[in-house]
Amino acid sequence: MVDPKDYLEMGLKFHGHKCPAMPMGLRVGAAAMNKLGVGRTGDSEWLALVEMGENHCATCFADGVQVITGCTFGKGNIRKLDYGKWGLTLVNKKTGQAVRVSPKAEAMAKNKASSFFTDYRTKGVPPTKVPAAVVDPLIEGVMNAPEAMLLNVGEVFDYPYQEKKHSFESFVCEECGEMVVEPYGRLKGGKKVCPVCLGWEA
């Protein structure tokens, strides 16, 4: 069994500051690994699909997932799904099995309503400037909560792993007039545009 507490110290060193989201990533990652019956990967046998997007709070979650699962950005086996959620689907590429784990809404809401967010983070105070007396109990809470109170752990399901298929569909960007592959297309004021014309490094 993978114990998230064994990874908290490494997580804090890697992540750089104390917050509740990184530990939540440790808990979610551990639950997924234990459900699949796998340990930490040193190579890239597992794939971590994190549902977070950009520009929202608690993306630090993904650092916890990197630390505990060993699915790292450098090894290329952690990917964002851009749903703006905190679920994790952990895939065992070898066996074609996967499990989805997500933090319970009540647990996330409880953290969000805490002084760490309401008195400090939403007012622009960086995490390292938040007093330990405020953030430590939050971390303790996440690390020690019974799994059934903290997480929804799904059943193992089949996930035949295959590399993404190449897309042959494309369209002409309505701003620059250049061709762009459909999955990279974006909407801007109702016009179909390429990511560059959206002004966003997508």
Partner: protein, 198 residues
């Protein structure tokens, strides 16, 4: 030889030469901009890697050294497929650190790579094969290994929050516009487009 903390190896998960190369590049970037490891937010690291080539491990070394982590939204790959990265902090500017071609050619002669090319996973390669390549990366003189260049006028910012939203043509639910995707001419939310799913 550059001192690489044990926890960084543990984080990465296996021994290889590119993670320590990234760690070293990260330290150079911090030094050039006069910065310490970034514990909060505010800086960005842009490794010029893509996906599906073995040098990408470099990005884990950069994450660990600079504190510009994937989770904190401080790291983006440029998909150039190059062994270089740019460190940017708005108040201190930007610096690009790139591995020199001669250094990479010398590194390529180590036996580690003949194992990798045969498809052996890094953790299954004997330490006596891997560690000479690692030690080479951590001890080669900096000026021989890396080109360092300050980038005047470099800037980057995250997109501003958007209030524009529209309806998915399939499920009829409301989606923030930048999350809508285009498929077969229709505008769809990510789950309906199936694009987000691997």
């Amino acid at each position: 030889m550059i001192d690489l903390p044990e926890w960084v190896w543990e984080f990465h998960g296996h021994h290889c030469p590119f993670m320590p190369m990234g760690y070293r590049m990260g330290l150079i970037g911090l030094r050039e901009l006069g910065m310490e490891k970034v514990k909060d937010h505010g800086a960005f690291a842009f490794p010029e890697i893509g996906l599906g080539h073995p040098q990408t491990c470099m990005a884990d070394g950069i994450q660990a050294a600079t504190g510009c982590t994937y989770g904190k939204m401080m790291m983006e790959r440029t998909n150039f497929g190059k062994i270089a990265f740019t460190l940017y902090e708005p108040s201190k500017g930007a610096v690009r650190v790139a591995a020199r071609a001669g250094f990479l050619a010398d590194l390529g002669k180590f036996a580690f790579f003949s194992f990798r090319m045969k498809g052996v996973e890094p953790s299954e390669i004997p330490e006596e094969i891997t560690m000479p390549a690692v030690e080479f990366v951590l001890s080669v003189p900096e000026e021989k290994a890396f080109g360092v260049e300050k980038l005047a006028g470099f800037s980057f910012s995250r997109p501003k929050g958007s209030f524009a939203k529209d309806i998915c043509d399939n499920c009829g639910e409301v989606v923030f516009e930048r999350y809508l995707r285009i498929k077969d001419g229709k505008q769809l939310c990510i789950p309906c487009s199936t694009y987000g799913k691997e």
